[in-house]
Symmetry: C2
Subunit: 268 residues, 2 copies
Amino acid sequence: MKKIAIVGLGLMGGSFAKAFIEYSDNIVYGYDINEKTIKDARNVDIKIIDNKNEFKNMDLTIICLNPLSIKKFVKENCKYLSNTVMEISGVKNNLYPYIKDLSKKYFFTYKSIHPMAGREVYGFESSLKDLYIDASMIYLDDLDDEEISLFKKIGFNKFVKASPKKHDQMISFTSQLCHVISNAYVLNEKSLNHDGFSAGSLKDMTRVSKIDENLWSELFLLNKDFLIEDIDIMIKNLKDLKSELENDDLERLKTQLKKGNDIRKKMW
Amino acid sequence: MKKIAIVGLGLMGGSFAKAFIEYSDNIVYGYDINEKTIKDARNVDIKIIDNKNEFKNMDLTIICLNPLSIKKFVKENCKYLSNTVMEISGVKNNLYPYIKDLSKKYFFTYKSIHPMAGREVYGFESSLKDLYIDASMIYLDDLDDEEISLFKKIGFNKFVKASPKKHDQMISFTSQLCHVISNAYVLNEKSLNHDGFSAGSLKDMTRVSKIDENLWSELFLLNKDFLIEDIDIMIKNLKDLKSELENDDLERLKTQLKKGNDIRKKMW
């Protein structure tokens, strides 16, 4: 029975806390600055850390804040942190070397992870004990057997190691670009007149335009080089298709659609 | 008890046939040129039309073919058609006036409809009796109470009238552009390496890149003016976001994301 602290009880942190309570026999502590969240967390048996010295007693601390808030939290509190400290930032290049340095200076073990799960709602009230069922976990530092076992208990069923750069390069495409596209899509003024003219594809296509602009603007800017590359590829592919339409080039259009179809079939 | 003929027992036509058999007391006839489809259709109690003179005895004929095949079928068979003839083409501007003229000349009642439902698989084997549950029906010509009641029986719960032009303008955005975007997305070479790095958003975003290139290249080209307009709007919105990234313009980026978020919340 270990002591696990979750810093930041939002969608991701709240879901970790609820899942560890439900599926493991560890003692779960939470740290948050929002009074309502603290109250709600106490109601589901999360113990609240109100004195930072308590972090010293934790076996594992998982920081579930926005990327820049993670950096700030670690910087301000590194003297309290001990044992293993993880953070779940959605971009890594910007903060990984910085926290790695602090971990060496302050003698805690730093392991960077990124749970591949989410919802288009946020806050503790949206967190779910089952958010991580069947999810993939990206990790930057080797996890030991006990840690893997802990994450498996709450649902993770795939573990993929990546460098900070590889992580950010892939996340730009698998997650950030989806949110960019979805946003660009709904900005067409026809959006508000879709009723009766749409089926499932429009709903799926625009689902992740429902985002917290504070979190996602930060994520986009911290990964802007890769994201701009992926936006450029997207624009190029759209321009190709547009030119096929303009030229009534049925054969090239069919070839492009067939190619996409073949790729998608291999993806899942 | 009426006689309903379905021409073309693919995903859409097969689903109409199965739904009418399941949820109405009408007699359902099918017409198809594929031997296997005919055999499979007989196995689920669809009566097969093998002499075109039988179309004269139908109370309602619904043509469920690709747009250009609908034009061809009506042209070649207008002398056999009687009573009410519907077609479900996904684009209307190109074929509506043409079939309207034939209907006047050959004395059948022409009503153009477009059921807003689909799946990313096709053929009779993919058709479902419940495909139209909770779907919207776009119609170009007034449907009478009996027709509305028939479609309600098989699941349609919304009916929206549109002109051919309005139909094509909206469908370009609500359906065709989704398929274009999804195709352009998967053509990024990172697609085949997503495993472990992706969650639900990539899956949803790329779902409709699984399409029949023959059908969709036809749909795109027959509606290319509206579709090119929508692709241009998409490219413009992507370029705006890209320039916000390039300029580290946090405030404009947040404003754009917030605007998309607000629009999406109003959409559903």
